[in-house]
Symmetry: D2
Subunit: 202 residues, 4 copies
């Protein structure tokens, strides 16, 4: 009813961490191979997310709705964990906390037919750290849409995987060249302490 | 990850019922007056929704997120009911059922920065029955956006209210004239039985 | 090919003048009545545009393409003037100059399926002065879409007309109440001299 | 003013030929190399376009505005040809004809902040043949946005070039794998004769 978004003000941060499709049952063709690549990446993502929390950087889960238009995000999380799916260990490591944001996306790009761009505007985001699966599809599509909207991109290379890791590497290089994304292992990203500033020094 | 929306196919129906902002705590200036108009309308909406269910017409709750970007729809429903808010009696009458769809909107129009249009496309919707609050703002904005996207509009006049009921009447007339909306008491809308067809005969 | 919009930088101005549908042949049902209301308004708009030029405020023609998808804006202008249409006197008074911008819109709202919002972002626009025809349809639709995107609105009342001037007045009042638009005769709008600042003092 | 797009009905065709950024002065860093690859491709595109005309397939020029927000498409064409630019020979070969459509895009993707999708909907397009420059940026971005909107894609491999032809090949293969694009030399595409049907048999 109201257009005022400030009643319950969201955090404000020029840097935002996007986790793409980390909640999935992986119950599709190729999901088994992807799970093998995704589990170690999930551990890196969890560590990165903890550092982001300490630095005051909010996390947005940008997640496929897998065609389940009636489900909300919490139902998807429960399904992945409680139904003992291939994606369960990853979902357990990365399950959302109360302060996280989430956006369900019906297609590959997190920006297509979602409220992501408006949420980022209200957070004051300028720089997006994007992590998750898969590097060669949903992360590429989302990163292109972010670049076209003038966001700066940081892609932690050990937090992004695909079924075919050669394709993953090819497309990371592509995003570095064309989208001017910073590609770096997550351990080498400097997330500043919260008190100093919410800006990233990269 | 997947772009396939057909895995868990949504219902298919050329007519869809949109309930705009029916879940609200009404804890804002003017909310008390609105609540008085909204309670009888809510009863009419509930009856209309039951008829829609019997006719195989799906319902989409298109609801303000009230600036609570971290909440999902079910949390909003619980807040309205469990926290004993002004909007509680209405939320109890109209609380969503498991087969309903929902779209959280950050602004007045249900189409702005949401997945509503894509959901309607996947349902195969051509005609929207729009009910809820308030007629002079969120329903008008949503109806204009629906008209511009070539949806046919049906506005059940006893299911749409505003704080100022004169304004409500003025804008219903406007929508009839400019958006070519069918305006009719809900009891006079003919919802065909499910077996015959999912088309509406108006 | 390039995403760089700065090569040939557009003007920068926090205030922008939008002229909605002022170029039209008016060769449609009701166009004769509209022409009678529109001609005096066109003179007011021309005066306002001249003041805007002196104040460094850019003008964007936001104009219907009238289903002529293959035409550009200059072709529409030529058609209205050279083919001696009902809209000729208005088009002559308001024909675009080389420093004006233009956006062809396929539907009523200037924002729907056009590049208007991106152009406004690149101009740095915060406040839109909207003038043209008709107040009860294309200007209302455009103003609602502008409000939802957080632009401030100024509506010069003697520069906005509709076929039915009562409806025009009703919807101006609506835009004042709901969209918080400033409604004022154009002569009372203070457009600051260019040198001082490009901000509007209203 | 009118929302009716049928007054001057556009062609209707399930297959549409998109020419991406073929009108350019190429006066930017790397433009010289690109011109060398683009000239032979332009000849192939011209031949393909002629076949499309004979088959009743409309052509849409989807072209960068190069930051010149005040220009229309015809002005861009004149600039490229009359100012004797690097892109002149290509613009001469591919200059638009009166029955062609055009869409100016402010960024890399033809769908971002333009009316392209609405125009394609009105043409009834289901399948897009995309040709032009460059394969690794504007064509990739446009193809991804087309795929996400459920268009079928045909990419004539001899009509798509980039500065770095290895990257061009890599991304054509990517579009084949992920976007399910048909990749084929233009001479091997079967465009059906107009009389039979406007559907493509590939």
């Amino acid at each position: 009813m109201s257009s005022d978004l400030h009643g319950n003000a969201p955090d404000n941060s020029s840097v935002v961490l996007l986790l793409v499709d980390v909640i999935s049952d992986l119950e599709f063709s190729g999901g088994e191979v992807l799970a093998q690549h995704a589990l170690p990446a999930a551990k890196n993502i969890a560590a990165l997310k903890n550092r982001a929390i300490r630095a005051g950087i909010p996390t947005i889960y940008v997640n496929d709705n897998f065609g389940k238009w009636r489900s909300d995000f919490r139902t998807l999380v429960s399904h992945c964990i409680d139904d003992d799916t291939r994606g369960r260990p990853i979902a357990e490591i990365l399950k959302p906390q109360s302060e996280d944001y989430f956006v369900l996306k019906p297609k590959q790009s997190g920006f297509y037919s979602t409220t992501l761009d408006l949420l980022l505007k209200h957070l004051g985001a300028k720089t997006l750290i994007i992590a998750g699966f898969t590097g060669d599809i949903c992360i590429l599509f989302t990163a292109i849409d972010a670049h076209i909207r003038d966001y700066q991109l940081i892609l932690p290379s050990d937090c992004i995987v695909s079924q075919d890791m050669n394709e993953n590497a090819t497309l990371l290089k592509y995003m570095q060249r064309v989208l001017e994304a910073v590609i770096s292992p997550s351990s080498e990203l400097e997330l500043p302490p919260k008190i100093v500033r919410r800006e990233m020094q990269v």
